[in-house]
């Protein structure tokens, strides 16, 4: 039995966070793909409270919620790289911006994908601008929010880049545009090209297909 298992669904950016963290730490794991639109017995047993992926199962003990999983991976496998920075203050900063992304920006991206415009566009532009400032401050001239290497905040935001690109295509509008947010634009390319990310990040075309299928399915079930 594999010591480390990860329950996930390939389009899910939260699952990707856990996978990138495991790749960075060079942890061998068994990836169990859940059926889209279904929940396995193992999932329901391992995450009875939320019944959601990702779930990391290490030596039979499950853990849920992507950011909690990423922190766990950092603390359980102490080999480099450290995903969270060394200083308590910097760690607080990473956690703050990760929470900002999950609580404010990610739901906004969903609203934009579902067709909301106007004020939502402005909020998105403001949010991206704040992330640019955070990047400049935290990276200190280096390639990632985490410095020389991908860290917790890179993983939090970077794993959503596929879905950010889907949103941009649907909007006909670039959110991460080099002219406006050069730091983030460069960072996005570096993140996607990183060896821990390449090969597991789903292609934008496939995410578009999934999204469009889901939209059709939703419209049908409303009739």
């Amino acid at each position: 039995m594999a010591e480390v298992k990860l329950l996930g669904k390939w389009p899910c950016p939260y699952v990707l966070r856990a996978r990138v963290a495991l790749q960075l730490k060079k942890v061998e794991y068994e990836y169990l793909e859940e059926e889209l639109g279904g929940k396995s017995e193992l999932l329901l047993k391992s995450n009875p409270v939320h019944k959601k992926i990702p779930v990391l199962i290490h030596r039979g003990r499950p853990l849920c919620e992507s950011l909690i999983i990423v922190q766990y991976i950092d603390e359980a496998w102490l080999a480099a790289p450290s995903l969270l920075p060394a200083s308590a203050h910097d760690r607080a900063f990473h956690r703050f911006w990760a929470a900002y992304f999950d609580d404010k920006l990610s739901p906004l991206l969903t609203r934009l994908r579902n067709g909301e415009r106007g004020r939502a566009n402005e909020e998105a532009a403001e949010g991206v601008k704040l992330l640019e400032e955070a990047f400049v401050r935290l990276s200190e001239g280096k390639g990632f929010f985490g410095g020389d290497e991908i860290g917790y905040l890179d993983i939090t935001i970077g794993c959503h880049l596929g879905w950010i690109r889907v949103t941009e295509r649907l909007m006909g509008f670039k959110l991460i545009e080099e002219a406006k947010v050069p730091g983030l634009a460069g960072w996005a390319e570096r993140f996607c090209a990183h060896e821990a990310v390449q090969g597991i990040m789903p292609e934008t075309e496939k995410l578009m297909e999934i999204f469009q299928l889901a939209q059709i399915h939703m419209k049908r079930s409303k009739r």
Binding site: H58, Q71, Y72, E75, A88, R91, A92, F96, A99, Y100
Partner: protein, 227 residues
Amino acid sequence: MAEAEQVKVLRFWASPWSFRVELALKLKGVPHEKVEEDLANKSPLLLASNPIHKKIPVLLHNGKAIPESLIILEYIDETWTDNPILPKAPHERGMARFWSRFIDDKCVGACWMSCWTEGETQQMFMEQARACLRILDDELGGRRFFGGESIGLVDISASFFALWLGVLQEVAGISLINGDEFPNLCRWIEGFVASDVVTECLPPRDKLLAVFQSKKQAILATKSMVY
């Protein structure tokens, strides 16, 4: 001893979120200054320290600002290492973080909305709230605290249920938390509020009751927590 540390908490006396921060500092024996905020007229210091959310609590440590109560709690635990509030082992740490997030993301909101809605909407929120409380009650089981023998991260996060929920349900005229349905939680509440450190930090119940009663109409209209 190191150069004198400056620790301030931008807080509001009635807020369960700033209570969390003050309790953690008290448990660790960290001297600190409480800076009371007028939430209707936020200070330049608060607006500068938390420009994104403009909310209390904010911890100021030697001039560095840390907002968001759960983030502050982790910062406090990492900076002052006596009397840890998070467990040592990674899986237990993950579970403590999980339950704290569960409290913040699901439980508190459902309890809050149960108080300020009516009819079918209220029934729906009350069912959600009860489901959350049941899960927490089961998780606690026969333990004295969520943290085991001593107050930990989850206990601190759950402090809303120890005082504020009782006050809110009285103001709203509903019953959510009760000894029949949630015996473990009610036992936990008794033990938690009886602890010396907690008693020193908790706001007076009668004052809390008075302020929520006076704000009842405003809260019914907006449903928003005024923190």
